[in-house]
């Protein structure tokens, strides 16, 4: 048996790796099987829409204390049934971003699925991080494929969705490729920056490759004392303290930011023109309130935490301003805030995640069902 110090050091290293091995496999299989859900990769090549939600997904989404669900997509990369989806594409199109996509919900809990359960034919076109910029091309592509919806419902979450949108029917501008020698120089510089060795780089690497690290991190952060400390230093997200979109949009006078409402409304009006002009479908916008607008007490907590001058802010203004911008452009809209508030439920969104939960979606389904024409009788 070798006994030199180098041999012992090598042996110790292998033992350390093996101990990690046991822990790693235990964590992946027994302690923390949700590990894969921490950074799901749902965006990729889509056979119809370029880079979009990947088709045929069954991606588990896990956020401790919030949700543990499976997000499925069909062969179009859309959340909906496989068999009969072409029929749905000639029914009602639901368009929007992550709330419409149902990021934190099981398939049957999304409001689009709930409408389907009531007999409507509904195709959910939404994608995570979406908006008019991604939804317009999808609608156009489906129109080119010959699908003709009866109605299009665009679901917009404030204040996230208030952004700069260019002309939606412009050809996509691709980032110019760098010259090859510049690409090589960039690669070499990146190598010498040794990004993986920085604390954040190391953390990212561990998050992506070690279930054991993630499990220890999770369990540690669940201890009340640690939780309180981490919340205090801002390492754990308290959703009440996180604004939806740019917080300055909630100012009574947002200054130059105010034009964003008009730009967003312009983009939505283009969607309306496509739906009503080319497709002959009724178009309507459903406005979802930001959590600070839905629950004013949470905005008070946010304002107190940041020491904001309360008199300068009005969390309800973005909804009113957006509605006014849509009115100016003759776009039909519904504000879902009254219906959501009428439920008197303090928890229509997830505790540490700003998405609407299943209860919130149930209310949205009721709201929409009351506005949409009755479903046709199915053969």
């Amino acid at each position: 048996m070798p006994t030199s110090s180098s041999s012992r050091a090598l042996g110790a290293l292998v033992v350390l790796l093996a101990v990690l091995a046991g822990g790693e496999m235990l964590a992946r299989t027994a302690l923390f099987p949700h590990y894969r859900a921490l950074s799901p990769d749902v965006v990729g090549p889509n056979p119809y829409f370029g880079t979009y939600t990947r088709p045929n997904l069954a991606e588990r989404r896990f956020s401790p204390g919030n949700f543990d669900v499976v997000n499925r997509t069909n062969s179009y990369g859309l959340r909906g049934r496989e068999q009969g989806f072409e029929d749905d594409l000639n029914g009602i199109w639901v368009s929007g971003e992550s709330n419409a996509f149902g990021t934190a919900l099981d398939d049957g809990e999304i409001f689009s699925a709930r409408l389907q359960q009531r007999g409507y034919r509904v195709a959910n076109l939404a994608n995570e991080g979406g908006g008019p910029g991604t939804q317009y091309p999808v609608m156009r592509k489906l129109a080119d494929m010959g699908f003709r919806p009866k109605a299009v419902v665009y679901v917009m979450t404030l204040n996230d969705g208030v952004q700069v949108y260019g002309p939606l029917d412009a050809e996509p501008v691709t980032e110019p490729l760098p010259p090859a020698h510049q690409a090589l120089a960039t690669s070499v510089r990146r190598l010498f920056r040794a990004e993986m060795l920085t604390p954040m780089g190391l953390k990212t690497t561990l998050l992506r490759s070690s279930a054991l690290y993630c499990w220890i991190k999770l369990k540690t952060s669940e201890a009340p004392l640690v939780q309180a400390w981490m919340t205090r230093i801002g390492a754990v997200r308290d959703i009440d303290l996180v604004p939806s979109g740019n917080p300055d949009l909630m100012r009574r006078d947002p200054g130059p930011l105010d034009r964003l409402f008009d730009e967003t409304a312009d983009a939505i009006a283009q969607m309306r023109d496509l739906a009503e002009g080319r497709l002959g479908a009724r178009f309507m916008v459903v406005l979802l309130p930001a959590h600070h607008a839905l629950y004013p007490a949470r905005f008070e907590k946010y304002a107190a935490h940041l020491g904001l001058d309360r008199s300068l802010y009005d969390p309800g203004r973005p909804m009113r301003r957006m509605a006014q911008a849509l009115d100016t452009r003759h776009v039909a809209w519904i504000d879902s805030t009254p219906a959501l508030r009428a439920a008197h439920d303090p928890q229509l969104i997830f505790p540490n995640d700003g998405h609407f939960n299943a209860k919130g979606h149930a209310i949205l389904a009721d709201l929409l069902a009351a506005r949409l024409p009755r479903p046709e009788a199915r053969p």
Binding site: E24, A58, A180, A183, S187, S209
Partner: protein, 404 residues
């Protein structure tokens, strides 16, 4: 299980952890090593397979075992039609599973299937079936067969190890001595640095589509041209170094070498003796040598040269086709085949003009050696462009550069 694990690539913590478990098993419980290798290899393989991939793999694994079992240690069954039929069946299954043009129409499934390492598996299975009648001296069991095919150190990208060498390696499992262990650890770390630190630096600049950018010049062409061969070498040889190093840390010393300074090759034939050696050795032993023997036995001598040239081209078409399913890979193989034939012609010409001694003196001249190495490297690098870019990308990139 399949859905729980992300793919365990060679640079993942999971892979390193499992490999270390194997090393410890080899050091402290060598008798349990085969079990440890089988278990870790199964975990690695499952991490790469979806349910449908696993089902397809299960079907793919059975026929070679059954046929090898049937003819194991029975030389009288060596020329049987059963083996020929089984080789044909297995190759046909491979073509269908990989989705080669034409064969993909026969795919009975309607969703993508990707069986990791199936190209490497096929060649090992064919070797087993061909050699089985003469391999009675070692045992063939389902357990060993599966461990051999799925062994984590050869599953993803070779080297192509033959069954008897695998069994011999298993029998020799031991805790390596200090120098042996340090050399193996050194090789593993070096391999990691080559494959996962240095190689990625060259991947981005190696795409010929970069030349489509207005303002690209000859410097950019040079970067694109040279980046990919060095990327491929660093990535592939680094990966092989890692696997050989890990195996040697387990005291498993029979994994074949795959590289021997390939870009110092003096001609295309020499290149294939230095590049992916376990593949070229397999191709030589199980395709080219039987073909050339058949040519010598069955054809009149006047046709030998022509038939051998055709055999060389066919061999390299197989090499190209094995690497990928598109036509570009066939062209890649053909380029190498033509390179080998050109060398043979040139060599014949030299012998004719200078005589044997004169030819030897000529090729030993330093400037000739340097010119030959440079010419071979550039020819190989040009062929490799087909591996990294589609034909349309190559013509588009070059047309943009030349402002056509």
């Amino acid at each position: 299980m399949i859905d729980l694990l992300p793919p365990l690539a060679a640079d993942s913590i999971g892979f390193a952890s499992l490999a270390s478990l194997c090393i410890l098993a080899a050091w402290y419980a060598p008798a349990a090593f085969p079990l440890a290798l089988a278990a870790t290899s199964t975990v690695v393989a499952l991490s790469w397979l979806h349910a449908i991939d696993l089902a397809v793999l299960a079907v793919f694994l059975v026929p070679p075992y059954v046929v090898a079992r049937w003819s194991w240690g029975r030389p009288e069954r060596a020329d049987g039609k059963v083996i020929v039929a089984a080789i044909t069946l297995q190759t046909a299954m491979f073509l269908v599973i990989k989705g080669y043009p034409g064969a993909q129409l026969l795919q009975p499934w309607n969703q993508p299937v990707a069986v990791v390492g199936i190209s490497y598996m096929l060649f090992r299975q064919l070797q087993l079936m061909i050699d089985a009648p003469n391999m009675g001296e070692v045992r063939l069991t389902p357990y060993r067969y599966l461990t051999w095919l799925l062994a984590f150190w050869t599953l993803l990208a070779g080297p192509i190890q033959r069954y008897n060498a695998f069994v011999e390696g298993l029998a020799g499992i031991h805790r390596p001595g200090r120098d042996e262990a340090l050399a193996a650890a050194h090789r593993t770390v070096n391999g990691f640095i080559k494959a996962f630190v240095l190689a990625p630096v060259l991947l981005g600049p190696s795409k010929i589509s970069l030349l489509a950018r207005p303002g690209s010049d000859w410097l950019d062409l040079a970067v694109v041209f040279y980046a990919f061969p060095f990327y491929l070498y660093l990535n592939f040889s680094g990966y092989t170094d890692m696997m050989i190093g890990i195996a040697r840390l387990c005291g498993f010393t029979t994994l074949p070498e795959n590289f021997n300074a390939p870009y110092l090759a003096r001609n295309c034939q020499d290149f294939w003796g230095r590049w992916h050696m376990s593949l070229s050795g397999w191709i030589r032993d199980y395709l080219f040598t039987p073909l050339s023997l058949a040519i010598h036995r069955r054809l009149p001598a006047k046709y030998h040269a022509l038939a051998l040239a055709a055999a060389v081209l066919l061999t390299f078409v197989v090499v190209g086709g094995w690497h990928g399913t598109t036509g570009a890979f066939v062209v890649f193989g053909l380029m190498h085949g033509i390179g080998v034939l050109a060398v043979a012609l040139w060599d014949g010409l030299l012998k004719k003009r200078l005589g044997r001694a004169g030819r030897k003196a000529f090729v030993e001249k330093p400037w000739v050696r340097v010119a030959a190495v440079a010419l071979t490297f550039h020819y190989v690098a040009a062929a490799m462009m087909l591996v990294n870019n589609s034909l349309a990308e190559i013509t588009g990139g070059l047309a943009a550069l030349l402002r056509l």
